[in-house]
């Protein structure tokens, strides 16, 4: 049972504020992913929880007790580093046993626990080896084993699979998830890879320039991004964002993208849901799968010209020229043969997001 809470945490590096008033509650057994670009403060936050970094203001509570003044060694937390940080002069066995040697456990106990962790991670045959003789994936397993062996209150992982190649990364991702389900410990995981975040997290915490942008389940974050930053950071291919103007028509609303000649048709309910923002500076956000394409003209569809086609195997991404803006649409593979084709497109209103351009905040329009 471990809850971690951050209350009004602030951190400065000289004049630069890297964490700005961060508040976050992590419940027991939860798998939290801190997601953001490099330099957004996510690693600093993690290191602050670990006790490797001091904070300038606020509280860090573990199980309700403030720990910001405790040394790292006294917080009973384990950490897995991106570089794995296996001690090169020790064997795999010694590496895993190292955290236990800091406690008053007997040799026999230590031996038993090291072997049991090694068995869980399927690295029993590697125990005698030196870290330099291991593959990247095995190094990571050992690093995780070293973190698990002490049965810490919480696990912190700093881009633990960022250094692996793509295939191994996918394997290890699944393994970390399996392990979390099996062992169940409060985990904070830092990554800049949104796919990793989506696939692992119970809740994702998105940070940008030291400020928390949104906290939510992967689905919430993907379907209802709180602002333009989250909208464009989460999801691949990236969400289309374009300046938009909303106008009232007879029985519907029209959303014009950029300086396009005509607008996309939306239900008239949009106007009331925009809640007075209709005349303001708006940005329309639409994921490529929300841009629907067909070959023949139909009610509500607008004629557009295809530009570049990027075949991605299971689907294609097609650039559509709408006025001077470019909308990227997701189609079946091979649906569009190449640039210069005339097709018809519309925007799925249920998948459209509207943002206030000035603040970047979502207007929470759900059609």
């Amino acid at each position: 049972m471990t809850q971690i809470e951050l209350r009004g945490v602030q951190k400065f590096f000289g004049a630069v504020q890297v964490i700005k008033d961060l508040n976050l509650k992590i419940s027991d057994n939860e798998f939290i992913v801190l997601l953001g670009q490099s330099g957004c403060g996510k690693t600093t936050t993690l290191r602050a929880v670990a006790g490797l970094e001091t904070i300038d203001e606020g509280d860090i509570l573990i199980d309700g007790k403030p720990v910001q003044h405790l040394k790292a060694a006294d917080r009973d937390i384990a950490m897995v580093f991106q570089s794995f940080s296996l001690y090169p002069h020790m064997s795999v066995y010694e590496n895993i046993a190292f955290p236990l040697r800091a406690t008053r456990k007997s040799k026999a106990e230590i031996d038993q626990e090291v072997r049991s962790v090694a068995k869980t991670l399927q690295i029993s045959d590697l125990l005698a080896k030196k870290p330099s003789a291991l593959s990247g994936g095995d190094m990571q397993r050992v690093a995780i084993g070293r973190a698990l062996v002490r049965r810490p209150k919480a696990m912190l992982m700093d881009e633990p699979i960022g250094a692996l190649d793509a295939k191994l990364r996918e394997e290890m991702r699944a393994e970390i998830k399996r392990l979390h389900i099996k062992q169940g410990s409060t985990t904070i995981y830092v990554t800049h890879d949104q796919i990793e975040a989506m696939s692992l997290a119970d809740r994702i915490v998105i940070m940008h320039e030291g400020v928390l942008q949104q906290v939510g389940t992967p689905d919430e974050v993907y379907s209802h991004p709180a602002n333009l930053f989250v909208a464009q950071f989460v999801g691949s291919p990236v969400m289309n964002v374009a300046d938009a103007a909303v106008a009232e028509k007879a029985s519907s609303a029209s959303v014009t993208v950029g300086d396009a000649a005509a607008g996309f048709e939306f239900p008239s309910a949009l106007l009331s849901k925009l809640n007075g923002h209709a005349g303001g500076q708006l940005a329309l956000g639409i994921r490529p799968e929300g841009v629907l394409i067909r070959r023949d003209a139909a009610e509500g569809f607008m004629a557009v010209e295809t530009q570049i086609v990027e075949p991605l195997g299971s689907f294609d991404i097609v650039d559509l020229k709408v006025g001077s803006e470019m909308l990227r649409a997701r189609t079946k593979s091979g649906f569009i043969s190449g640039p210069g084709e005339k097709v018809f497109a519309r925007i799925d209103p249920t998948q459209a997001h509207f943002f206030d351009k000035a603040s970047g905040k979502s207007l929470e329009v759900r059609l």
């Binding site: 384990a78 991106q82 296996l86 001690y87 800091a102």
Partner: protein
């Protein structure tokens, strides 16, 4: 995988081999010279052209270790016949070995000077490397106010030739009674080597990823424990390299040893040239003394050769 090499690579390889041979010969020639002279009879040591083929003798070493005195007359045949073989070679040179009242052979000054050299060099090396390692760790891991200035200040102690301060040092040492003491020389050599040791170790410490210690800190260790259990083993290569350099500097130091010591704490370097012989210069004895003097450094370096050659990048850190 079989290496396929182009002709230019093979050509370059040959040039490299020749270059290595030339350099090796240049470096080994003086050592060969000293070693061969150490086993030459006195009269062959200074022949022109040099004698290359000769019957090696142990006599220079006998003369080196035993106290000798000049003889007015050659030894009597009975005395000569009664003497052991190693004493006869001294008689052959017109000298005799000094014995005490009980007939015990008296040692020359060399063994004690050699021991002094060992004491002074080893102690000052341990001190310089030890303090240097801690200092370098501090500079490398913590925010030290005025770090650049402090490091420059540390280095500045090497910016003038040490001999410049020899006279004032001598006067100060005499005033505080450190003249001709082991402690005096140890302090001196430690001070010489410390700046070098700090800078060299700083470079090695910077190479050790700080994640190692952070992992240990999170794993429940104090910083001191992390330093001894993680950093020191990782820094072994650097420590070995630094120790070799410090040892060589302290071992070979001549000028201060000559000025600051005379008997009790005198090291081998100023002693060896003083043994030019009780008559004509005996170069064989000097060469023998020098030859033995070379050995500790050679052995020390040989023992640490793996550390010196092994790169720093054998770790398990992935960047």
């Amino acid at each position: 995988m079989a290496a396929v090499r182009t002709s230019s690579e093979i050509g370059f390889n040959r040039i490299a081999i020749v270059a290595v041979l030339v350099v090796t010969i240049i470096f080994l020639a003086p050592i060969y010279w000293i070693a061969s002279t150490a086993f030459k009879p006195r009269n062959l040591a200074t022949t022109i052209p040099p004698t290359v083929v000769f019957q090696p003798e142990i006599s220079p070493f006998v003369k080196l270790f035993a106290k000798r005195s000049q003889m007015r007359n050659p030894a009597s045949p009975e005395e000569y016949a009664a003497a052991p073989w190693w004493e006869r070679v001294v008689f052959d040179g017109g000298e005799k070995i000094v014995r005490d009242g009980k007939g015990q052979v008296q040692w020359s000054g060399y063994p004690s000077r050699f021991l002094n050299s060992l004491i002074v060099a080893i102690t000052s090396t341990v001190l310089a490397v030890g303090m240097g390692t801690f200092t370098a760790y501090g500079f490398s891991r913590f925010k030290v106010k005025g770090e650049a200035d402090l490091l420059f200040f540390i280095l500045s102690t090497r910016m003038l030739p040490p001999v410049v301060v020899a006279i004032p040092m001598f006067l100060m040492y005499r005033a505080v009674g450190l003249n001709d003491t082991h402690v005096g020389l140890i302090i001196l050599y430690t001070a010489f080597n410390l700046s070098f040791s700090v800078w060299l170790m700083k470079g090695f410490m910077d190479e050790i990823p700080k994640e190692y210690e952070e992992a240990a800190l999170v794993d429940g260790y104090t910083r001191m424990e992390a330093f001894f259990r993680i950093v020191l083993p990782e820094a072994a290569t650097g420590i070995a390299a630094t120790a070799v350099f410090c040892f060589i500097t302290a071992w070979n130091e001549y000028a201060f040893a000559l000025i600051m010591t005379s008997r009790r704490a005198q090291t081998a370097p100023p002693f060896i040239p003083s043994q030019v012989g009780s008559g004509l210069p005996d170069w064989s004895v000097i060469a023998a003394g020098t030859f033995l003097f070379l050995l500790p450094v050679a052995i020390f370096t040989f023992l640490l050769r793996n550390h010196l050659l092994r790169g720093m990048s054998f770790g398990a850190i992935r960047k």
